[in-house]
Symmetry: C2
Subunit: 327 residues, 2 copies
Amino acid sequence: MTSMRAVSIQSDQSLTIDRIAKPTPGSGEVLIKVEAAGLNRADLVQRAGKYPAPPGASTVLGLEVVGRVESVGADTDRFTVGDRVCALLPGGGYTEYAVADEGSILPVPDNMPAAEACCFPEAVFTVWANVFDRAGLQAGEVFLCHGGTSGIGVTAIQMARVMGAARIFATAGTDEKCALAQSLGADRAINYKTEDFVDILKQDGGADVILDMVGGDYVQRNISASRMNGRIINIAYMNGFKTEVNFGPVLMKRLSLMATTLRARAADEKRRLRDALEGAIWSSVMDGTIRPVLDSTYPLEDVETAHARMQSGEHSGKIILTVGHGD
Amino acid sequence: MTSMRAVSIQSDQSLTIDRIAKPTPGSGEVLIKVEAAGLNRADLVQRAGKYPAPPGASTVLGLEVVGRVESVGADTDRFTVGDRVCALLPGGGYTEYAVADEGSILPVPDNMPAAEACCFPEAVFTVWANVFDRAGLQAGEVFLCHGGTSGIGVTAIQMARVMGAARIFATAGTDEKCALAQSLGADRAINYKTEDFVDILKQDGGADVILDMVGGDYVQRNISASRMNGRIINIAYMNGFKTEVNFGPVLMKRLSLMATTLRARAADEKRRLRDALEGAIWSSVMDGTIRPVLDSTYPLEDVETAHARMQSGEHSGKIILTVGHGD
């Protein structure tokens, strides 16, 4: 077959399954026969036309897949045909075959269900790149994780625990979600609809590192919830990019306000992150110490329903598309 | 003598010379017979009642001195009586004898005039702590220094040059000050009254590290002037702590907005900075590669005139008080 099924975005922003050309791995790339593809909030933004694929990337949605190596391009040496892997992608995951840079691929055990393994690539890369690589969370420090039951949050809580955080606080919007966050290792989950995270963190002396995707008025509240030398790292600003900031406490507490995106980074940079996180944390993912939190799975054909579930905000953990091949 | 002359702040904020008790060095401390004391903008703020001395520090103004070791306290081992030194102080510099923590002291050659040597302690510690230790300016990176002819600026430009910055930009408010900044090693000085630093930095691809003390609308302008992975570090916000910020480009360019103060840091932390900067840059200060930029010197008794000069903003480089002992 030289064509394959893939999700395509129609002009009215609806999603359909079309046939497109099966890709060929270029130099340094690997072709993966996809078993599962993860949903990310960025997919909804891209679908709405506000987050175009970076130059050179597939315009098909999907930032992560699990599957088996189908073929390898030139100048690759780590993976061979048949290896079970997961990959971070700059795009092109909602399909039967996805091309990944070799430096964005990690091994997955044969016996781990695809939907479970697919809970990890984007989340582990994102948490590593932000909480550990950029914000430098150290063993013995206090970590506050907003969106504690998002796909990122459930992984961030567990990674912080494995890496030796002294105390982990997580915010979520229902008592059920709070219970989930605590079951994953949060020492204290905070229902942001009924409690003030600033008060609770201040009682503990403040957070060393805060992972935030809310933005808006959370910018100043995170500053208030930080202790001396705290680092606040944003991976999104869902409540808005623009806000008034009082930098007085930033100066007095010697804080750092940081933000990063992952998708647009160069392949070399992703390889650097892959190597670092593989050495530090990947064995804890593969041996089940860090467990997948799977909200729901949908066949690729039900992608609209899967997106609606993410849009609702009612999910906890990852929403995964499973990809059949009829073979 | 068990008393000494020291500048004291009267209730009307005027400055007078009074006699106070000569201090005794405690454990880990050294007593310095002061030859020169440096002025810093923080002194004006403290005098105005808005920047109280940290707990345990002398309430006398003055954050840096040059002189000879007069006596040493218990648990010190590096300096001996008669050594010529300079020191960073949490307070107590505008006087005849100052107590310093041993970890905040650096050696000074016998033949370097006191007023010249006193251009360095606060500036070198501050630039090291911010531009190199916190913001991590690397060889080959682009550096933008605001306040290019301030006491901090003239030292920051020269330190960045010695540490291998690829290109150094500096802002200043007159063409004369711009010429001074370029004579110290700035590749391009920008007269902020007639030129837009954002445009000029953008033409170069943006700054990797920006040292700022302006704040206010400079917060967003610094964001615009940064390149990917840029770090903006504030040591003050002279135009205001509060400003609206659009964090969109912070996320897209993966920036870090940082701020620190030096004075309130623990003695151990200052010792860590002292050791690092002594290894990396102090020999370049002592051998004249990094030259002092001395605006003016005043006898301790003319401290009011010295403060008026700093308040005017007309100075370039350091304003120094010289301390006579009548012996």
